[in-house]
Amino acid sequence: MSALSAFYQANAFLILAVVKIALLMFIVLTVNAYLTWFERKVVAHMQSRWGPHRVGPHGLLQPLADGAKFLLKEDPTPAGVDKFVYYLAPLLALALALTSIAIIPFGPDKLNVFGHETSLGIVDLNIGILALFAITALGVYGVALAGWASNSKYPLLGGLRSSAQMISYELALTLSVVGVILMAGTFNLREIIESQYNARWGILGWNIFPQILGFLCFYIAAVAETNRVPFDLPEAESELVAGFHTEYASFKFAMFFIAEYTSMITVSALCSIMFFGGWLSPFPASWTFTQFLPSLILIPFGLWVIWDGIRYETIFGKVILPGLGTVIAGLGVLFILFPAVNHFVQGPFWLLSKIFVFLFVYVWMRGTLPRFRYDQLMAFGWKLLLPVAIVNVILTATAILVRSPH
């Protein structure tokens, strides 16, 4: 046992990094799976349908069924594809999407694991936001190369659209956060969050108020970069069959799917961090009672899940749902009983809530907005977003110059 602990002490940094990566991967993939469920459910209710409801209560086992289907389906490789690039493309898309999440910091406090402190988040880079943009910049190759390598007309069109869209919106995307970087004076995501701290007014310290133009540009450009409605021209079903992934089946298709949902999470996290104070609470620091908010949400939700579960006749509903409810409500009670734990979860609670709101907006837009026409997309990016982003940079720089002491 002592040999084991000595080994841990010597390699704590590496071991913790590997454990954190594995844990984050597991969480992100699970959240991805349930994000598809959430999206189908929400869009269905917006369109007066039920959405998935056959597999498990509320269709909760649908993601598992979908996952099994992806794994077991036949995986044909079309004739005439460029084999190497055809296999490389989904790999590239997924790997880059998962890498980008590693840079997101999830909470302010450090966690002490057997005598070694570790932060919530895989890496804490000085150039965090730049590194994220670097990874997004490479992300387009997954889509573009998939379109090209398939050796088929529709995917090629999808790939072409994707790269053109990427080039057009990347400028606006990067320029729109320059204002935030100017205000914070750093590229580090942690420091950007801390620069938005305002003890007296809470929410008023956030970047969203001075940087409202930047935020609008950033969010629109980011939605375009993730190829989501209303900018999903690379995979427009009504025109291009399925766009760039028409020739992909089985798990290779699933990899594109997971990559898309992972980048949705990354973009939502970035929005919260850059403009909405990240893990900061929207309330003034003097309102200490707001720290019971996580419990106040978790306990009723857990009780509702228990109540909902026992009405079901199936085993899953009768046993697993109440069990899940007990765990959720138990977590809420735990936070009340242990103030240290409660203090620790405040940051992650606020950040995750904000991420959830942005994910909902993604789904909401998909249920609401029609797709752009191609020329509209280009005109919108170059003639509206880019100038507005530049104006925002000039305004912010001028304001900083005027307010600086000398």
């Binding site: 690039v85 730049l130 997004t136 910049a137 190759y141 090629l156 790939g159 072409l160 790269s163």
Partner: protein, 172 residues
């Protein structure tokens, strides 16, 4: 061998393999992909030198924007694999070996002198090239090197205008 040395050799090998593959590949897309590998490997090397800002910009600008444009144009033109021809006339004329020798010697001398210069700069305290810090880099860019910097932007603007003029001519 330290970790940074191992990483250096890995990235350097990757860059050289990418560069060789760039020339040897017959399909333009494969060549473009090799070039992306070179760009990313170079960014890794910058990162090893502690120039994180330059590394990130290398990937964003070269690995991302410019190479996406390359791939886009290749896809748009639907360029097919090129055909092998006889070796070029310069290579056949017997000049190739002396030329390679001269180039290698030139490169060797340049690298040796560069290394000397860098070592001298590192030895002099306070006078070294401190480019690692983004703040220091941008300060330098906008004070000491502001004229070359602005001149470069002007040059790029002229190139963009030229492209616009060329594109406009066909419409008329």
């Amino acid at each position: 061998m330290s970790l940074s040395l191992i990483l250096f050799f890995l990235l350097a090998t990757l860059a050289v393999i990418g560069a060789v593959s760039l020339i040897l590949q017959r399909h333009p897309i494969h060549s473009a992909l090799s070039l992306i590998v070179v760009m990313v490997a170079l960014a890794g090397l910058y990162l090893l030198l502690g120039a994180e800002f330059v590394a990130a910009v290398q990937i964003i600008v070269y690995g991302g924007a410019i190479m996406v444009l390359f791939v886009f144009v290749i896809m748009l033109l639907n360029a097919a694999a090129e055909e092998r021809t006889d070796i070029s006339k310069i290579a056949n004329s017997g000049l190739i070996l002396p030329l390679v020798a001269v180039l290698t010697a030139f490169l060797g001398v340049t690298i040796a002198r560069g290394t000397e210069f860098m070592q001298a700069a590192a030895r002099a305290p306070g006078q070294g090239l401190v480019l690692a810090d983004t703040r220091a880099l941008s300060h330098m860019l906008f004070t000491d090197f502001v004229y070359p910097f602005e001149l470069t932007s002007f040059l790029i603007l002229v190139a963009i205008l030229g492209a616009v003029v060329l594109a406009q001519r066909e419409n008329q």
